[in-house]
Each structure stands twice: as C-alpha cells, then as structure tokens.
Symmetry: D2
C-alpha cells in the first residue's frame, strides 16, 4: 500500500475546518497529521466537533508540522495572508487556502496560487503547488455561467442567490441568531458582494471581451447549509442548443450535473455536487444552480483540488451519502 | 352604536378563509353572519381553525344568506366565477373576491370588479361595489414599483421573490410536504408566473407607454408565511430623489412603509404591512419589499378594501400584534 | 371616556419588554408613558422592535417617570431586585415583575408581591399592589396540574417540556445560534430547573400535604415561540370525572381551554391562551398543555394581571389574532 | 477480490428504501442487483431519489431476482408478511425486514427472524438467516435502558421521545404537511405506542422478573431526521457506578457512545451512531439518548446487521460523514 498523504488543517475549529476534517478522516489516501486551532488548542477535537465522538482521540494543537504533504488553511477571510507571513512550510508542502486572500492577488513570497475551480481549469490545478479555493457563491454562480462564457455568449447577468447560515461562519452575531434567522429572509451586500471580483476574473478570461455586468443580489436564507442561485440572461439560441452546450462542457466533470427537471437545494446538501437546470422563455434564459456551501462551496472542493494535485481520482473520499431530508 | 356590518365568508375552511375570519372576529364594526365551507359543512369552525378554540361556537354551513352586507370569496383560483354563476347575492351586497378570477376579466353578469390595491386606486375602491383582491406576489412586487411607474420611470425589471408554503394553499401536495419543503429552496413558474398579468395591467395604466418587461423568478421558501422580493431596475436618478419620490407616494398610506435600513421578512409576518427598502449602486436600483402573503397579500388587504368601501378608517381591525419571532 | 392607565416599561429592548410594549400599544385602556432601556437609550424604539415601524415615534429612555400607574419590570432574572433597590416609584404605582425575583421571596422594602397566576388566585391579584409574574414553564406545568392539586389528588409527577429559543432571552449564546439550534433538540437543567420552586410553592398551598415530587425534564426546541408540556401522573379516577373536574375548574377562566382532541403548540402561538388535553391509559393520566412562552408565559399574563388589578375585563387587549401557520 | 454481496431492495421508493440504497451504493462489499417498487416501476431511481443524480442509471423494477444474497424489505408496517406470502426467495437468501411484522411474531413458513439489535444480541445476529430490524423509537429507548436491565436494576420507566417527520413515512398526510408541522410540537399514541411490545420483549429477556412499566409519551418534532429520548428511572446506585456499567456494556459496540457532556440530536443526524448521556439528581437517573431514525433507527442498523451476518467488519459502509449543521 502506498504511503498516505500527510495533511494538516489550520483553523480546524471552524465550520470549514471541521468539514475538511470530516472529509479527510474518511479519505482512503489521507492521514490527518494535525489539526491546528489557536482558540481551542489543547481541547479534544471531538469536544468541539461533537459528531466525531468515538471516531478520533486527537486534540487541537497550536504547534505545526512543517513537513506535511498538504496544508488546508481554513481561516477567516483575510487571515491566510497573515498566517503565511508568520509561518512557513516546507517548499514541497502544498497549500490549499479556503479563504479569499489569494483569489485575486495570487501570490505571497515564492508561492503562487491557482484559482481552484476544477470545472474551469482542471489541468492547471493538477500541476499547481498552491490553490486559492473559490468562494461558495462564486462557485454556484460560475458553474451556472461557465459554458456560456466559454462560447463568448454572455451579456448582462441578473443573479439572485440565497445562502444558509453556515456561510456566515461560526462567530456569534445578530444575523445568525436563531430567533432572528429562523423563518426569515433578508438581503445583504446588494450588488456589491465580495465574490464579484473572482467571478468577473474568471469570466473575463473565458470571454475576453466580456464587458457585461453581473448584478448579484445575495439573500440570507433560514436554513443552515446550501446555496440556490438563479441567473437570468439574454440569449438568441434555442434551449436545446444551450442544453447541449452545457452537457458537453460538463460531461467529464464528475460533480456537476445538468438536470432535465427542476432542481432543489436539498438535493445536494451534504454532497460535493452542483446541480444545474435551464429554462427559457422568449429570449430570456434562466439558469438555476445549487451547491452545498460548505462542501462544493468550500471543503469538498478543497479536497477535490487536493485529489487533482496528488494524482488521485477526482472523486476520492467525496462520494458522500446525501442527508436528503 | 351603529349597526355592525353583516359579513359572510365563502370557502371558510381554507387558509385565506381562516385568516379573513380571524380578522373579522376581532373587527370592531363587523359581525360574521356565516362561514361557508362545502367540505366541512356541519363541523364546528374551531375544530378546523383550532386556534379559535374558546372564541366561537359557530359551525361551517353550506347554506348562504343572500342579504349580508359583504361577502368574501375565499375559494381556489378559478372557482369564484363558477360560484357566482351558481349563487346570487342581494344587489346591495358587496363582494370581495380573493381569487384571481376578476383581476383581468373584471365582470360577471351585472357585477364589475375594481382591482383592490389601495396604494394605487384608493378612491375607486371607496366607491366600488365589487373588489378583485390582488395576488400576494402581485402586491409585493407592485408596491415596490408603483412610484417609479407613476413617474414614468420604469424600464426592464428583474425580480426574484420567495414565498412561504401557505401560498400554495391547503391541499396536500409534494411541494408542501414537510420532509421536502423544510430547509429547501426551489424555483417554479420561472418567468411565467400567473401574477404577471395583473402587475403589467397596473403598470401600463400608471405608465402608459410602458413596454418594459418584468422578468420574475418565483422561489419556494422553507417558511410558512411571508413574501420577500427584490427587483433590480436601471435608473438615472440619485437615490435621495428616488427615496423622496417613494416617501411622497406612500405618505398617506397607513400600511406601506419605507425603511432607511435593510428590511427582513419577519418584520411584517402576521401584520398587514408592506415594508420597502431602496439601495443604489451605479445606475442600478434595487428595491426590496416584503409582506405577509396571507394578510397584505390576501385577507388583510381584503379587509382593508372592505374598510374603504364602508367608509371606515382604513386600519380598522388591522392594527395587529406582529408575531416577530 | 375615562383616563387611560399610564404605563412604563423597564427593560423595553428585550423580548418580554418588546412583547409587553406590543400589547400595551394596542390596549384600549393604556397609554405607554415611557420605555426604558439602559443599553438602547436614545434610539428609536422602532429601530429595535422593527415590526413597529410606522406605529410609534418614541425613543428608549433611561430616565423614569415615578408617577405612572403601573410599571412592568422586564429585566433579566435577578435584576429586578437590584433595580428596585436603586429606583423608587410613587407609592400608588403598581409594579408587575416579569422576572423571578419575587416569586419565592416576595417582598422588598414596603412592597409585597402576589404570585400572578390568575387561574389560581384571581381574587388576590385583583387587590394586589405588586405582582410576581409566573415563569413560562411554571405557567404551562401548573395549569396542567392545578385542578388535581385543588382536589388533593396529586402524587408523583413526571413532566417533560419543550421551549422555544425566545425563552433563553436575547443575548447571543451558543445554544441560540441558528446553526446549532435549528433541527436540533437537547435537554438542560435536567430535574433541577429553577421553576420547580414556584411550582412546588403553589402545589403545596393547594394540596397542603403534597409531598409528591415533580420530576421535570426541560428540552430546548428548534422553534422560537411556544411551550409544550406533557405530565404523567397516577390516578384512580376515570377520565370522564377528571375531565369534568378540569372543565369545572377552568370554566370562568377566559384563556385556559380544555380540548377534546389532541392539542398542538402552534394553536396558541401569538395568543394568551393555554390549551390542555387529557388522556388516560390504565391508571396513568397524561396531561398535555401548551402556551406561548412570551405571552401567557410572560407579557400576556402580565397584562392579564394588570387588567385584573385595574378592574378591567380580564381579556382587554388580549384577544389576539393567532399567527397559526 | 472476493465476490460482492448481491443485494435487492423491496420498496425502494420510500424513505427507508432510499436510505438503504444510499448506504449500499457506497458499501465496498455490496452490489445492488435490483431496486423494487410497485408504484414507481420503470422510472429511473434517480428521478425519485434525486440526490443520486449522476450516480446510477438503474430503474425501479417490479420483477425480483430470487437468488440474491440478501433482500431488504423496506415496506410499510404490516406489508412484509403479505409480501413474503406472495413471493419467495432462494433458501440461502438472507432477509432483513425493516417493518414491524416479525419483531414479536417472529416466523413465517420456514423462516425465523432474529431481533436485530446488535448491542443486545450480536452473536445471534451473526448466525441469523433472517432479521427483524428494530423500530426507531425502540432502538433509541432500548439503547438507553439495556445496561440497567442487564443488571436487573430496572424499575418503572418514564420516557418522552421526539421524532422527525421522516418517521411518519412518505405518504402525504396532515401531520407531515409543512404548514402544520413546522415550528410545531404535538403528542400522539400517548402511552400506547406500537414499539412498546418489542421493548418490553427485550427487557423481559434481559431482566427476567421485569414487571416494571414503560410509560412512553411520543412527540412529533418539527425537523425531518432524528430521535431524542429522555427516560427517568429510580436508582439507588451512584452515578459513577452507573456510568461504569454503561461504558463496560458498550465498550465493544462501535456505534453506541456514552458522552460525558450533554448530547444533542444533530450530533448523530446522517450517522449510524447512538449517543447517550446520564445525569442523576437524588435517587432519580435521567438517561438521554439520540439516534438518526432513518439510520441507526432503520436502514443503517439494517446494514449493520447485514455486515454481521456476512462476517464483515460491523462498521463497513457505515462510517458516514455527519451533516452536523
């Protein structure tokens, strides 16, 4: 049996850290070497991620091992850069950053980060040393638009997306308090969401003259996991042609599926999938897409990227049982 | 003390019938004369609307009294026309139809229906004999757009709206089953929702040359009550001017409020209010609006219309305690 | 028209303060003179209780008026005693404390507090100057047991109760975070809940030799409002006799209703009602009872007590429209 | 590589059928040979279990293969007996019935069923030809009581349990409609739940003189998955001794864990685990236990039993990633 990949997790007490750990623990080719957490150092990991009771005995640490094969940075947005300024890893260690620090400005000292959206640039990811893992809304929106942009067909886009409360992270705050959030909907960062930058960056590479505007209205949903997005664009093509274009684009990608019937958010919760459904009325095309914000929108995609970087099957450790209900 | 308005409810066992009853029972100027239900005739009303336990002793009936002052038709969409073909009321009886039967084709035999959106045409409602009560999404969307249309400023509109499960009515169906609906989001009737007709009808009266298109994507939400809508339109005005326009438009309307801060759906649940919040980025204006689909979007607006028709204060019986949490 | 009751609210920014305000604003005989909040002083009340938008212009204050007719203390448990040590009101001012400070040790300086459970001691409340308003679980449990205790029939009691997240107050904490609380159940304060003291105090007055033990397991529910309780006791009576006993006990009490069919929690949400249902199997009697923890379990019962103290109809301002769905 | 176990699923379109399929698809030693459904025969399996999109191409069938190694009966309660009267399988085929047909009356023609609770009788299960898989509430309650009964220490038990809506099955009904079930709690089958029979059967074998009574109040919860149970019993032992007894009893059982801290329902959702927490006050012991009703309470335990019957590691295919949030 080949040697397992030695993996470390930085920021292991948060949501994406916990999800990354849950995935790696069950990954057939990975051994978790350490789980770092500044706030929880010394405590048993299963005392924070209580679903892991009975599965592991390790404790959070704040001392790192620099020689691991791969490190997952699961820190708050903006903290990865600071962390890498203060800590260094072996030159051979691969780094996957789940924060937004290196998605646009993609380098620090001698490390350059590749934007880790496999459906866009799988080959680059296979050869990458460092990955900037995409944002959750950015993943759901881009997967809905990539085939159109790849064919230079994208004009102005109107997108509304709704996200579960885990998207807001673990810190106690008014907008994730149960009494406010339950049975409630609200908008935030209207037309100014921070993922617009990375989405536009991708679209402009795929469709070089892209001057369209992405008008994105994010909503807060009253559920914990998942993202559902609908984008409306103008089109002159017939629906059958567009569907063929999408099928062709995604046919070798194991996690992104085009559905003939309407999709719903829970279809993909606790999986690494993205499901897409297309509808057309007159010259308007509506593109619905849905992912689990913590998996395909964060930790699952990070492990998918790891699989690609280490030459493993893309789906290793990611064929998860959906919770469905 | 003046004589109370004698009111009858047709279709009293359903959601809007029940809400209308709850409102009328507490209305200082109304006496409920009968509550009709074909399916539940003979049963105590409080055995179906169990929250009314201890408040009333009456039973559902299927025999009508033709001389009541006002009748509320709380039937499924398409059933009001049939009902009025088979039953007649005294010529003086006012009829308020909560279905969609008379919103576009507004007459049957010698009765003509006025579209009952007070914020648009309150004076006409005051003198109406029959009211076609607006749809729930139609109310939330129109209240977000009326001031722009009244000033002839409306171009193409991109709207996403989310509705609670009570919007789908009481009949058992897959999309309102708990195990599917909870923690889930999906789209339906994309760009083809049946309320587009009544919305366009209003907008074209207000802004005669209106050739804009309303691109509306409805979503099913995982909550029971409420509608939240965001519309995005182009604008050349500055935000302060638009806010003034909205404030001026709604200043005499007691239920529609412009908020300086972001609104949320639960603010208006179990009230007859509509709250609106405006945001601008570059030349894009985002209009958020929210109502309770069963109250301002149905039974509450019906009672508001009744108040206007009978010369009562517009808010009579409608200053409800919000449930809030 | 008679002069309105002048009312002040202390701790008006919290949940029970807000609910008390919502009730008093719509109460036909009350005028809210001031709404005190130390943390929010100076801010518009409607900026915190956003459902009140358009209904009132007042701001939170931290200066009190000592000559109001009635003051509602809506502070955290343990804070009322401190507050009254530091502030005094006119000797004629009635005080209703929603905290637990005076339920067992019922006096401070020259004020003595009557335990404000109208179904137990309505006449004492009518003549009280100060009221210790019962706890939420204590209300639901006692209303399920009072008739048995009044007949000296109560033995050991096994009770499980579940409460909405508003019962935990407004402070941000792990157990009211959305991502933890939603779709979750857990137990807390097993067999040691702080309401046991006031329940036992009542039962021992009603059934002087009561040496039975109340084994109470409280659960946290994944909803915002409401309490549902089931108590199981031994009995030698037949069910019909017990039902008669309960009906007779509650027949003059306008908010507590015995149901012939199974009750459910949402029946009473956003109302001041308590519903009770009895079942018997062999010699075991199961007593189900349900209330809204913020209304019959707090602010609603406080206003009910105020009505009694001021000689108003017991239901004034409390015939609320249920939210039901 | 050894030959995979050939498995068939009867009633594959329902909740437990779907969960069994989800588990078997990912099980390293199993090949799903057919998925039977009378109502959905001919339709793609992924059109009903839409989370499986992209994972399998098979269709529901109504023709069976009699020579499979194991058949899972995932039918409604009472239907397994009829099914086996009308269909026969090869004498070597093992049958695991998820219904309640053979838990008490444990045989049909020449097949005898062993009650499949591994924590009670793992050795018998290893050698069984047919398994009567325990009920969901029965599993959660028994796992809380087994160690006490095994030591002959069980007296009268007072248990309250709450279950998710998937426990009620897939058929549309009033109590699983979203508008009723959400944010609601109610009781059903008070003191008469059908699982009492199988629980008492187990307890009486373990503690032969057991004449205690199990007073069980089941509640309907407003979530989809999971069961949380608290049982209260008298005890003369100290808590430390009881904890030792439980630890010792469960130490070789991989899915049942004793927690030092309070448990919560979501800890085990989408896993095959049972977590237990013990508390003592005076002479009362409270035992909290929680499982996922569809996994440890149904399909997961069925696969666990299959593992035992076929000599596989007990946890094969059952180390699932929890959904947690």
């Amino acid at each position: 049996m080949t040697k397992k990949i030695q993996a470390g997790i930085i920021g292991g007490a948060g949501y994406t850290g916990g999800e990354t750990l849950r995935l790696l623990l069950r990954h057939p080719n990975v051994e978790v070497t350490f789980v770092q957490s500044r706030s929880q150092a010394g405590k048993p990991v299963a005392s924070i991620h209580t679903d892991l009771m009975g599965e592991l005995d390790i404790r959070f640490t704040d001392s790192l091992e620099q020689k691991v094969d791969v490190v997952f940075l699961c820190l708050g947005h903006g903290e990865s850069k600071n962390f890498l300024s203060e800590h260094s890893f072996d030159a051979n260690t691969r780094i996957i950053d789940l924060g937004n620090d290196f998605r646009l400005n993609n380098s620090i000292s001698d490390r350059t980060f590749i934007y880790g959206l496999p459906e866009w640039q799988r080959e680059k990811i296979r050869h990458a040393q460092n990955i900037a893992n995409p944002g959750c809304f950015a993943t759901a929106i881009q997967l809905g638009l990539l085939p159109l942009a790849a064919h230079g067909l994208l004009g102005e886009v109107y997108t509304t997306g709704i996200t579960g409360a885990t998207g807001a992270g673990q810190k106690l705050q008014d907008t994730t308090q149960f009494n406010w959030r339950s049975n409630n909907i609200s908008a935030y960062k209207t037309l100014t969401h921070q993922h617009l930058g990375e989405i536009n960056q991708t679209l402009q590479v795929l469709q070089p003259g892209f001057r369209g505007r992405l008008n994105f209205v994010p909503w807060r949903g009253d559920f914990t996991r998942g993202i559902f997005v609908t984008s409306v664009v103008d089109t002159n093509l017939d629906l059958a042609s567009i569907i063929n274009m999408y099928r062709s684009f995604y046919q070798t990608h194991p996690f992104t599926h085009l559905s003939d019937t309407m999709i719903d958010l829970k279809q993909v919760v606790n999986t690494n999938k993205c499901v897409i459904h297309l509808e057309q009325v007159d010259h308007k095309l509506a593109i619905h897409s849905s992912i689990d914000n913590l998996l395909k929108g964060a930790s699952g995609q990070a492990v998918q990227n790891m699989n690609l970087m280490f030459g493993l099957p893309e789906t290793s450790g990611l064929l998860l049982k959906a919770s469905t209900f």
